[in-house]
Each structure stands twice: as structure tokens, then as C-alpha cells.
């Protein structure tokens, strides 16, 4: 079904500290996408802005950006599903186009996390969980994912070194990505060297090396109707499947701790809509905010059976030359995780792969790509399948 396409994708360089305001940051990703699509702002008839609130002080950023990006008087909408806001923005753009309301929609994601301290950031992130019943105990994102890691280890014998192997893979490709925050090599030895920062505990059993870094960044995906895509673009990438789901916010309301129910539900929807299965995917971007998140994604997406994720990484099947290359742009673990910009960056990587524009990390002849983007601790799940 070729009815809604991505005709351009861009992102800023992800950095620890962006020396400018949020509207200026958004301009970078937006301009990169316009250049990639070879169109002008005037070709866009609506925009969707994606971020998680309270990292900067601008309220209702969509209206501010519409002016700064040259998108007035087109309508603009703000969407938020924490770390998966970008994928939710893509779904809204898809719906706006599929409904016939608009023909070309820009999905702009951004986050400037450097305006507040790391402890404040953890407090904000923790409040993306259950503030009434969980946050008063001092929760934070790494600790929630650590609880999943502990359960996965207990159920399947997954070991800390299996998780470290995921970070080693990420760094293999992060070193090649000039838009990534973290571009140094990471080796398995670093996780066992007490003098190395990577080995320090954050929330047991997760260590510093298991966690992605906060970042400032922006991204933009330009989405168009079939008719406009064909007239504006030589290499449209089609949205073939879009799945999304929600789960109880408090862990007490959940039954599954060795995987994310939202990812399984969203993947099922996306595969069904696209009419494909996991074996048909040539390249994937998964939400590796923590190493355990990528491990669970292997299994939730059906790339590996339950508990078999470690065989996939240890057999290097998710490397560029493996059977299912995953996060060969370095992932969030290397790129950094500017919340609202992350989904757009993941989508961009798949768009480049399907257009044959991925350079050193190109998967030969990739024709089907998948994006797995999770908000909160499995509070929101989004899986998108793209095809040439």
C-alpha cells in the first residue's frame, strides 16, 4: 500500500550542550530535512512538534516554531509521548495525510536537556512514571529498566556481559556517526575494570556503560501524500505499518517484566498492517536507552525467541553483516537521547538505509526497515515499518 511517504529526513548533530535556544535547535533539524527533501518551507502545509515537557521553559513550542521555521500560517500541533514523541508525531502526520486534510506535513522533534542539572533531569524523567505512587520512593529511569534487567537475568540467565556486548556493538557504529555524542570505542574490558567509569553502578544491575547519555538535539521527518511524494521526490520511503500501544504506568499494574508489553502489541499491529513478519525486516532501529532495552527489543520484535536475545548479540547477528542489523548508526547509546528528537533520528536512519544513502553503515539492498520507539518505561510503544 503506497499512500503515505517520507520524502525527507534530517537531524542536528546531537551534542551534550547546544549553545542556542530551542527554536534555533529546531531550525537545524528542520533545515537538514528540507535540504534532504529538496523542498522549501512553503511546500509544507502543516507541522507537528514533538518533545517531552519541562526540560526548557517554552510552553506550547509548536506555535513558536511555526513562526521561526517559516511555517505560518499553516496549522501546527504539539504531541508528546515522552521518549517516543517523534514516532507519535509520525503517526499523527500519517493520519493527517491519510484523512486528506493535508498533503505535506513536517514532524519536528527536539529536546534541550542541558538547561537543567543531571539530578533535575532524573527527577523530570522519574515524573514520566507514576508520580502519585512511585516517584515518592525515589525512582528514576535507569532503576526501572534495571528492574526489567534483573527479571530478564533471573528468568533466562542473561548476564551483565551480554548487556555489555550490546554497548560494544553500539560503539562500533557510534564511532562512524559524526552526529553522535559519544564516538569513542567501548570494550567489554571497560565493564569489568573498577577504575573505568563504564563499570560504575547506576542502578543495579545496570552500569554506566549500560546507559545512554542525555543530549540536546533536533530531528525532522517530512511526510507527504502519494501524489505529492511522486511529484516532489525520486526516492519516497513508504509508511507500510504503524503500531502503537499503552500500558499501566505503575509497575504494580503489569504482568510482564522480561519484555515490554507495549512493544509486543505495537509490533503485532505494525507487522499485520504491513503484511510482513520479523524475518522480512532488513534493518532495524530499536530504542536502546539502556542495553537491556535493546535486548528486550530483540525478543519483543521477534528477531529472537524469549531469552534468546543474548545469542543474537553474542553471535553478532545484529551487526552490519549479521542476519538482522540493529542500530548500526550507534543507537541512543552512542548518539545520545534528546527525548523528543530521538524517534525522528531513528526514522531518519531507516530512511537513509532504504534510499541507499547510509554510507559506511549501509545494509546492502535494504528494502524493509523497522523503527521501535518506546516512551517512558514501556508506557508508550511505537513500531513503524517502512519500505521502498
Amino acid at each position: 500500500m503506497n499512500d503515505v511517504a517520507i520524502i525527507g529526513a534530517g537531524q542536528s548533530t546531537f551534542v551534550r550542550y547546544y549553545p542556542g535556544s530551542v527554536r534555533e535547535l529546531a531550525f537545524e533539524g528542520f533545515s537538514d530535512a528540507l535540504g534532504h527533501a529538496g523542498i522549501a518551507a512553503a511546500d509544507i502545509d502543516a507541522s507537528v512538534v514533538c518533545s517531552a515537557p519541562e526540560y526548557d521553559l517554552q510552553r506550547s513550542p509548536a506555535g513558536v516554531f511555526a513562526e521561526y521555521l517559516g511555517l505560518n500560517p499553516g496549522p501546527t500541533f504539539y504531541v508528546e509521548t515522552l521518549c517516543s514523541s517523534g514516532s507519535t508525531g509520525l503517526k499523527l502526520a500519517y493520519s493527517l495525510i491519510k484523512s486528506g486534510l493535508h498533503d505535506v506535513v513536517a514532524v519536528v522533534g527536539f529536546q534541550k536537556m542541558s538547561e537543567i542539572s543531571s539530578a533535575e533531569t532524573q527527577e523530570r524523567m522519574g515524573r514520566g512514571a507514576d508520580i502519585q505512587w512511585e516517584s515518592p520512593f525515589g525512582t528514576m529511569m535507569p532503576a526501572y529498566y534495571a528492574m526489567y534487567a534483573r527479571a530478564h537475568m533471573n528468568a533466562y540467565g542473561t548476564a551483565p556481559e551480554d548487556l555489555a556486548a550490546i554497548r560494544v556493538k553500539a560503539s562500533t557504529y557510534g564511532q562512524l556517526n559524526d552526529r553522535a555524542v559519544y564516538r569513542k570505542a567501548v570494550t567489554a574490558d571497560m565493564f569489568t575494570d573498577p577504575d573505568n567509569m563504564m563499570s560504575g553502578s547506576v542502578a543495579s544491575p545496570l552500569r554506566v556503560g549500560d546507559c545512554c547519555a542525555n543530549a540536546d538535539g533536533s530531528s525532522c521527518i517530512i511526510v507527504a501524500s502519494a501524489e505529492r511524494a511522486k511529484s516532489l521526490c525520486d526516492k519516497p520511503v513508504w509508511i507500510r505499518g504503524i503500531g502503537s500501544s499503552s500500558a499501566p504506568v505503575n509497575l504494580a499494574g503489569r504482568d510482564l517484566f522480561t519484555g515490554l508489553a507495549v512493544a509486543r502489541e505495537a509490533a503485532g499491529q505494525a507487522y499485520k498492517m504491513a503484511g510482513i513478519g520479523p524475518k522480512d525486516v532488513d534493518v532495524a532501529e530499536v530504542h536502546d536507552c539502556f542495553t537491556i532495552a535493546e535486548m528486550m527489543a530483540y525478543e519483543d520484535l521477534g528477531f529472537a525467541g524469549p531469552g534468546e536475545g543474548r545469542d543474537l548479540i553474542n553471535g553478532k547477528e545484529t551487526y552490519l553483516n549479521g542476519s538482522i542489523p540493529v542500530n548500526v548508526d550507534g543507537g541512543l547509546l552512542s548518539k545520545g537521547h534528546p527525548i523528543g528528537a530521538t524517534g525522528g533520528s531513528q526514522i531518519r536512519t531507516i530512511v537513509l538505509q532504504l534510499r541507499g544513502e547510509a554510507g559506511e553503515i549501509q545494509v546492502p539492498d535494504a528494502s524493509v526497515g523497522l523503527v521501535h520507539n518506546i516512551g517512558g518505561v514501556g508506557l508508550y510503544g511505537n513500531v513503524t515499518i517502512l519500505g521502498r
Binding site: 515524573r127 527479571a151 509497575l251
Partner: protein, 143 residues
């Protein structure tokens, strides 16, 4: 005529509370009486922990309280080496999820129980736990 005072009992919950009031504020009184409590829907019998004022299943808001009693099984846990803003003084501490069968309870492991004392599946009980400055939460103890 004085203003009616707001009932903000829930401000006392945990090291830092992010919620001033809730229609289940009595949870705090129960903690102060030494009980950890959940709610049960009077209409359909659904049990809820954390306690809810409204039943999602049958839409009733007629609830009764029940005590979280006995022991549950440790589902998973993590010990934090860093904490969010406001929790620095508590470090290190362990958060945990315990399964009581009809419901699960998210909370903290009691101070003094170290990570090496914990294993998934072990029996733990939830107990009210007064904190400094009149604050209160609940923690899990070994039986």
C-alpha cells in the same frame, strides 16, 4: 468566615511527594495507624493496589479499604547508586516490586537489608514506615 482548609494529607507520602491531595488521602491515615491498605470495589469486587478512588471496570466510585497482609513474592528490584533531586540523602536505597497474588505492590526495601540478602521469589511483607519530619511511606521486610 475562614476559608475551608485543603486536605493535603498526601503531601506527607514518601521522601518527596509530588501529589498534594487525592480522593484516597485516608491511605496516609492508615499508614500512620501502621497499616498498608488498598481499595476494593464494592460493586464488582476488583481489588486495587495502589488504591484507586474509582473502578475502571464497572465505573463505580464506592470503594472499601483492605489491609495488605501477609507476605508476597519479590518480583524484581534495583539498588540505586544515584538518586533524583531530593533523594540524595537516602542513597543507597533499593526499590522493589512484590506480588501478593491478587495485586502487586511497588515500594522500597527496608533500610538495613542489603542487596546480597535479596533474591527474586523470596517472601516479603509490606510495613508502614515513619520518616523524619512527620513524613511516612511503607517498606518491605523479611518475615
Amino acid at each position: 468566615m475562614g476559608k475551608k482548609e485543603k486536605d493535603e494529607r498526601f503531601r506527607k507520602f514518601g521522601t518527596v511527594s509530588f501529589t498534594g491531595t487525592t480522593r484516597v488521602n485516608d491511605f496516609i491515615d492508615h499508614l500512620e495507624q501502621g497499616k498498608v491498605t488498598g481499595t476494593r470495589c464494592k460493586s464488582c469486587g476488583n481489588t486495587f493496589f495502589p488504591p484507586r478512588a474509582d473502578c475502571w471496570a464497572c465505573r463505580s466510585s464506592e470503594m472499601e479499604w483492605f489491609d495488605v497482609q501477609g507476605t508476597g513474592r519479590l518480583v524484581t528490584f534495583s539498588t540505586l547508586a544515584f538518586g533524583p533531586k531530593g533523594f540524595e540523602g537516602d542513597l543507597p536505597y533499593t526499590i522493589a516490586l512484590v506480588d501478593f497474588g491478587a495485586y502487586k505492590v511497588f515500594g522500597r526495601i527496608a533500610d538495613g537489608i542489603v542487596e546480597s540478602d535479596l533474591s527474586i521469589g523470596m517472601a516479603l511483607a509490606a510495613k508502614a514506615n515513619p520518616l523524619a519530619d512527620g513524613r511516612i511511606n511503607y517498606v518491605f521486610h523479611k518475615q
